[in-house]
């Protein structure tokens, strides 16, 4: 558990630099479609947060949603976490394995929140194509956007570990050290896929970093504040 420091507030020694983080609870909402590995990714994120010394809660709905429905998992961590679900408007990072799902859940995020998503499409029954402008709309709504181009991603990693690539991007946005993610990954995937997962995680971080660098450059040019990124994101 993080130790409370009377001067600096709560300090988490496991986070690089041991910065004071106050009482902030971090909220990550992972979404996708049944069968995409949303729940496994959230298990790994929760385990990484525990590894980093945080209190953790996670909540999802099992059952009917597995049959092609929309799937979501709330992951919360911080010095002390009460509600198992993220209050609407408090999502810091929305992570989606499907394009339109990122938009479906956007209303749970606070203005300025980050989104990372794979632009893969799984159309609901009876839908042939999404309306144009989904990606632009996502970029417009969120403070920080990391978009994974599915066809580019597929040429580098197997579809089975896309969720791990997404975790790589999430790791850039939350106060959990990389080693904690890697330890959590090792604890959750079969030994023979550990390497593939570690690679996917590194690729996710790489794509995420360049997206963030590009956004910073653009922001500087436009005179706007740069996107927030851990570990500067400290309250």
């Amino acid at each position: 558990m993080p130790t409370p420091d009377p001067v600096r507030g709560t300090v988490n020694e496991n986070v690089p630099g041991g910065q004071p983080v106050g009482d902030k609870v971090w909220n990550v909402l992972l979404v996708g479609v049944g069968g995409q590995g949303v729940v496994l990714a959230s298990d790994i994120l929760a385990a990484a947060a525990l590894e980093a010394g945080w209190d953790v809660k996670k909540s999802e709905i099992h059952g009917m949603s597995q049959r092609g429905g929309s799937v979501f998992s709330h992951v919360r961590f911080g010095p002390i976490v009460h509600s198992p679900t993220i209050p609407r408007g408090e999502v810091d990072v929305l992570a989606s394995l499907e394009r339109i799902e990122a938009l479906r859940w956007s209303g749970w995020a606070h203005p300025g929140a980050a989104v990372c998503y794979v632009d893969h499409e799984i159309h609901p029954q009876g839908v042939r194509a999404y309306n144009p402008g989904v990606d632009d709309e996502i970029a417009r709504l969120f403070g920080t956007t990391i978009r994974f181009e599915d066809h580019a991603l597929k040429s580098r990693i197997s579809a089975k570990v896309k969720n791990t690539a997404l975790l790589g991007a999430i790791s850039l946005l939350v106060p959990i050290p990389q080693q904690a993610f890697l330890a959590a990954l090792a604890g959750h995937v079969p030994a023979r896929t550990e390497e593939a997962n570690a690679t996917a995680f590194a690729i996710g971080r790489e794509i995420g970093s360049s997206a963030l660098a590009e956004a910073t450059e653009m922001a500087e040019m436009a005179g706007r504040p740069a996107p927030e990124q851990e570990p500067t994101h400290v309250e």
Partner: protein, 552 residues
């Protein structure tokens, strides 16, 4: 050494029961309760089973407890309706070894047909009920529930909800803890206590009242109930997961946190309420606590501000209390099409619905994956009430529609697990009363809806051990269904399915059709453990295609 683990509420309940030295765990699957037994099965020193239904499970559990084995029985909220009969009288017999019955309620009906609040059962059956608010407490209160059960010789209810059962939290586990202590085994004959003929029940009725008086006293000081003093003039009485929302939204309020929701600690409530200017009772669904608190003359707010429908969230509390809500991202300007659940591509249930819709049949439906037959593109289900009701409601329709000139053809559809759970008795009723009707069992080799549990028609028991399976052909004969009124067909053979429906629809009397296929997710799981071919071939033996016994 103590290790911190992440655990769902269900896993924590299983852990608590194990640590309490449980000798037997059983239940019937049902979201959100299912993973409790699926966790307990990993303990080789505990006897575990899926029972045929909840009533059976509760009776198995009580039998074990009377014989000295602590027992855990699990079910979803509507399951307790099925088990209500033994539940009420088990309060009279008492238990000997501890008996804890878990009811997992589903506020907001994420995966249920109704939203009943099972705290009402604790009141009606005079049974104590615990309600944990997170995984850590689920483990602790399960252990406490076994202690209380034995100390007061009573079954104890443990209420969970979806946001406890399926929420994960940190639980500290001591790996070097000594092996759990067990209650001594042995059945002591005490007919006056265990044989509930009226003369005995009348005496036990008085004992129940006595026990209740002692329990009322016990909850005043039980550590599951605690006061967390606050710095504001607001006091909140709450329990279960809503406690977490209260802590999130009203960090300065005083809180009376009830780990036992029945009976309520009256003195504790009165003392607490006296210290605050405004008292709120924060509880999901029914005003169970509020009604009692008000009856004691304590002014409080409850359902006058908080909703009675659906689960709470921090946002629900903020809205009810007039607190500001966090600002959210704006509504997207691009349309987001809805995503409804649907049968998997290749699901063996699909074709039957196409055939029934094309024939304009009234379809009396039931609960399971196959309930999705009500959705497009099938749109082929007209009623759905509770498990087993497909068979019996079709029977009732037939009883009054018979003889009507434009009487529609009625078919009942029921899954294999549901058929074993409560369809069999309805079918026997139809046969016995010589009704007319087409009864179709959609057998996909598993209990798919709840994640793929074995059932009495699948040839396996909990843990995938091989066992018997009910044979449809012998069943039909035993129920007196004439040979030509029975068929079993391969779900993947569309022509055969259609031909069987047409053939049987044209006959009279009770007709039984078993449509035998395999859930594609079950097939994948079986392939992983090299059991697919064996199971598929065994199931083929069941098939008696209509053409094969050429109706003369």
């Amino acid at each position: 050494m103590a290790t911190k683990l992440l655990m769902s509420g269900n896993e924590a309940i299983a852990l608590g029961a194990y640590e309490a030295g449980v000798a037997l765990g059983c239940g019937y699957p049902g979201t959100p309760s299912t993973e409790i037994i699926e966790t307990l099965v990993r303990r080789p020193d505990v006897y575990t089973e899926w029972s045929v239904n909840e009533k059976v499970a509760l009776e198995v559990g009580l039998g074990a407890a009377l014989a000295g084995g602590r027992a855990l029985v699990t079910m979803k909220h509507v399951g307790l309706n099925v088990a209500a009969d033994p539940l009420f009288t088990s309060a009279y017999t008492g238990v000997n070894a501890g008996l804890v019955v878990v009811t997992a309620d589903d506020p907001s009906m994420h995966s249920s047909q109704n939203e009943q609040d099972n705290r009402n059962y604790a009141l009606a059956a005079k049974l104590p009920m615990f309600e944990p608010s997170d995984a850590r407490e689920a483990r602790e209160l399960t252990r406490a529930a076994f202690e209380l059960s034995e100390a007061y010789d009573t079954p104890v209810l443990l209420r969970s909800t979806t946001r406890l059962s399926h929420a994960t939290g940190v639980v500290e586990v001591d790996e070097d803890a000594p092996a759990p202590q067990r209650h001594p085994l042995g059945f002591e004959r005490q007919p006056a206590k265990y044989v509930m003929i009226p003369s005995n029940a009348k005496r036990r009725r008085v004992d129940v009242e006595d026990r209740w008086a002692r329990l009322r006293e016990a909850v005043e000081t039980h550590p599951a109930n605690r006061v967390e003093p606050g710095s504001s003039d607001i006091g909140v009485i709450t329990s279960g997961v809503p406690y977490e929302y209260v802590r999130e939204v009203l960090p300065d309020a005083g809180v009376l946190k009830l780990g036992i929701v029945h009976p309520l600690p009256r003195r504790l409530v009165e003392d607490f309420a006296r210290q605050y200017r405004t008292v709120y009772v924060v509880e999901e669904l029914d005003p169970v606590i509020e009604t009692q608190v008000r009856a004691w003359g304590i002014a409080c707010h409850g359902k006058d501000v908080f909703p009675s429908i659906g689960e709470f969230s921090p946002g629900t509390l903020r809205a009810a209390l007039g607190l500001p809500q966090p600002e959210t991202i704006a509504e997207p300007a691009v349309e987001v099409p809805p995503r409804f659940p649907a049968l998997c591509v290749g699901c063996p249930h699909g074709h039957v619905y196409n055939a029934l819709r094309e024939r304009g049949m009234v379809v009396s439906g039931d609960i399971g994956c196959y309930s999705l037959g009500v959705m497009p593109p099938y749109s082929a289900m007209d009623t759905l009430l509770d498990m087993g009701a497909s068979v019996t409601m079709a029977h009732g329709m037939d009883a009054v529609l018979q003889g009507q000139p434009d009487r529609p053809p009625v078919a009942a559809v029921i899954g294999d697990s549901t058929f074993a759970h409560s369809g069999l008795t309805g079918l026997l009723n139809a046969c016995w009363n010589q009704r007319d009707g087409l009864f179709i069992v959609l057998d996909n080799g598993t209990t798919a809806m709840t994640g793929g549990q074995p059932n009495p028609l699948s040839g396996e028991r909990l843990g995938r051990e091989d066992t018997m399976h009910l044979d449809y052909g012998y069943l039909a004969r035993a129920f007196g269904i004439p040979e030509e009124n029975f068929a079993a067909v391969d779900a993947n053979n569309r022509k055969a399915v259609t031909a069987a429906i047409d053939d049987l629809a044209g006959r009279s009397g009770v007709r039984l059709l078993a449509v035998i296929g395999m859930c594609i997710i079950e097939a994948k799981d079986l392939k992983k453990i090299d059991k697919f071919v064996g199971k598929r071939d065994a199931r083929k033996l069941e098939l008696i295609e209509v053409d094969a016994h050429a109706h003369a």
